[in-house]
Subunit: 386 residues, 2 copies
Amino acid sequence: MKIQKKHSNLHKILDIIIRKGEISRIDLAEITGLTRAAVGHLVDELMSQNLIMEAGIGEARGGRPPTLLQPVPQGCYFIGAAVFDFSWSLVMMDLSGTIIDECTYPISRMTPEKTVSQLIKAIKELKDKHRDKRILPRIGVGTPGLVDSEKGIIVSAFDVRWMNFPIADMIKKESGMSIRVVNRSKVSALASYYLHNPENYGNIISIVIGTGVASGLILDHKLYMGSSFGAGELGHTSVIPNGPACLCGNRGCLQALIGENAILERGQNLARINSVSAPEKIDDILNQSREGELYHQVITEVAEYLSIAIGNIINLLNPDLIVLSGPVVSGCPQLLELVSQKKNYRSMLPNQDAVKVISSDWGIQTAAVGSAYLVRENTREILSQP
Amino acid sequence: MKIQKKHSNLHKILDIIIRKGEISRIDLAEITGLTRAAVGHLVDELMSQNLIMEAGIGEARGGRPPTLLQPVPQGCYFIGAAVFDFSWSLVMMDLSGTIIDECTYPISRMTPEKTVSQLIKAIKELKDKHRDKRILPRIGVGTPGLVDSEKGIIVSAFDVRWMNFPIADMIKKESGMSIRVVNRSKVSALASYYLHNPENYGNIISIVIGTGVASGLILDHKLYMGSSFGAGELGHTSVIPNGPACLCGNRGCLQALIGENAILERGQNLARINSVSAPEKIDDILNQSREGELYHQVITEVAEYLSIAIGNIINLLNPDLIVLSGPVVSGCPQLLELVSQKKNYRSMLPNQDAVKVISSDWGIQTAAVGSAYLVRENTREILSQP
């Protein structure tokens, strides 16, 4: 099933069919600028490889209603993995984007060695369980930190103290498996893109609020990486220039204002003022943050700071969708309400009218799903596999 | 010279040759995934249309050194226009990107009618002067305000009080000419992209500081428009949340802190404190802003605020080039120095290491040049013109 140069359009046709979900030959010809004959030939080739199939009839636009083409779900499978909270999440996705299996593997210690060996074990077990399937050999992997996706190196992940961790090479050496590794906030954004209808939203900012505050950017329907894979450091944009010190060395970063530690500290201060016992964990605060409750003020402030950062994004990037997620968001449903109540995100009105701000509770598997979508995007590899 | 569907790759080949400036057939085949035979055929077609030519010999990589292909400068010409300071700037560009003519036309009154009639007059005179040349019928036009480039409407330009100004239709109706209209900060960014080597920088933020503060974004080598053409509203991102009121209705926007009016006001306050005569115009301040001079403090503050905004961009977008321009930048060379001295842009170090911050004094014609590049990008139109 080697891809021939003369079939350089083959992967483009497959890519469009996968992204659209279903499409007619005529529309394929229109989008690609190829002749209908050429499209017909390429479609035949993809059908003979059992990657696409005819399914249903589209709307007629004068003449006979066209037959629609869809990906064959069983045509190829993809494994996506992501590390969160001392465990690996893995999913298996079919060619149509449906998750057909998922699992979680705890990591005993967050050393590079333990992390890698547990991932290899997890992938092997998942592959063994589905040994009858045609699985793409390249695994998508989402990790924390700044990730050089070209070299397959985690350059720095301060939370887990990884520096220059050559994860792709280590996995290759120990198991022969190939991975594509990307920061987990970036693959989460990719999941948001595909889990919503890609026809509806092309510029998506996915914001994850936990201990850290990170974001992933889908711009013009593509995952935006930046010049050195560093795009999306929303947590370290400045909101209150003379605000509290941040771990990064600056002051008043969004993360220093609305990250879990900042919320906990603010809650503890408030408890002291009110002479009640101090909250021990973030949930103690989030669970008492509705109007009239003890920690409502804390969440009001969080909403205020978050709105400023969101306003800046709306002004600068004019997105059509902003997706909030992470422990702080899922633990505190009223946060989205408070943010949405601020009708004015400190941004220009036309940009504000163009955007929808929502929360997502897809949970920690979102990044694993995004990692699977990431490798599914490479239709050249789907076609060149044996 | 109608483009055939079977030649859908023709415009791609032309596009690559224009962007690269020179390239061999072998490299074209590698980039496009087409066979060398197919590339050879397409190249012949473009040569027969006098759009590209053989020019010079490339480096051998085993075997015979390859012949390089270049655009024929005279193959097609492009007119770009932009409105600034009560006048239209126009340039004529050849296919290789060289500006071969330029002119300026004052606008007596900034009404839609006067503005349109003066542009039509200017284009006609430029076309007449170059009537021997093959000029692309579509003119690129940069204007202030929020521009719906699809509909050809200036939705709102507060400075000149234009609202829902259907500039494309008006020009079409009165002269039969087609235009493509885009916000002038966006086309300025496109000029920055092409005037630097596009091979070197793919993620460029162009920041123009005058009465307003606007930006244009080149991301992944393409002009980023946003979901409703509103990307780049850097001037209205929040820098000091409780800062001075901005025209947009919010507080502490970058424009309210470093726009010309803000600088003038700050200078006047400083003059009052120092009991000297108040500055009347912005240049009175910029010209006395070196270290030890009266208004140095004003510019130090401007640099501080600008650095915060630049830091936010570096964190969020991880660009490789930031270009500062506009009257405030060209009138005050020490501003770039002060901004660059802030080694720490309040941004993550790897992102900071990836970016270069420079100033540009290309002047007001930059936007007109960008407008010409804008229409040159549409190689389909170049091929389909008679």
